[in-house]
Amino acid sequence: MIITCPHCGPRDLAEFTYQGDATLSRPEPASTDQEAWNAYVYDRANPAGEHREYWQHAGGCRKFLVVTRNTLTHAISGVEFAPATGSSRRKRS
């Protein structure tokens, strides 16, 4: 698999480390909503199809990326720097 890092360009899978589902919404730090925390930490949509996920370019620029990838074909349709997506704040759809 090749991931095209927005900074480094196309690089081999081996340079990246997977960091999981990027659609999860972390509750506010002071939140005491246990259900929301449980959902954030443990529950996964695990879609068969398009998946937005974090990858760190650990063997390169070390940036966190949000990669949109099809889990049925491994085809990658988008790669962005993580903060640009604001995904950590987005509510689960």
Binding site: H7, R11, D12, A14, E15, R62, K63
Partner: protein
Amino acid sequence: MAKQRPGFIADPVMRARAVSPLAGHIETGQFGVAVGQSPSVRLGERFGLSIAEVTAWKGRESKCRAAIKATASAALKVAPGSGSVKTAAGAFNIAPMRWLVSGESPELVANLADAVSEDGTVTDLSHGRTVIRVDGEKSRWVLAKLFAVDLSDAAMPRGNGLATAHHDIFAQIQRVGADAFDVYVFRSFARSFWHLLCRSAEEAGYRVD
């Protein structure tokens, strides 16, 4: 001597007291070279450089580039990976808003910190990296055995650099000449990497001075 700063910066490499991790582990001479042929790769350590990582705060990238230019006389473009190399100093972009700067001046890191000031942060890595130069017509062939990056002329103009890895060994590579590359590796991996590099170069024939 540089201005006293909290531990991190006023720490230039004092050659008299410094020991390279490769000291005593570099065998000089020609290797893997058939009789009547000359080696097509030269390998050597560049020891004693001042090395720093500069990271700009958001919106201060151009100020940091200017600071690098003022300190290391390296003119940097905005494009990812862009770099510049002179005899005494060089710099290249390794990540968004982040550069690796190196040079022979012991004051380099302190001067950089002064120049960058509030526009970003400077981390001294002079002791943390080992720099190995790979030069010669087969340098790309040898490096391609270890790194999955395109080092062709088109992909990597002179002066430019990138960050990559050989399994556990993280590396930053700058093209410093027509066929010359400087490879920056973590100091603790230097011996293993040197061994690996020599073995990879044996097929092409290499020389260590």
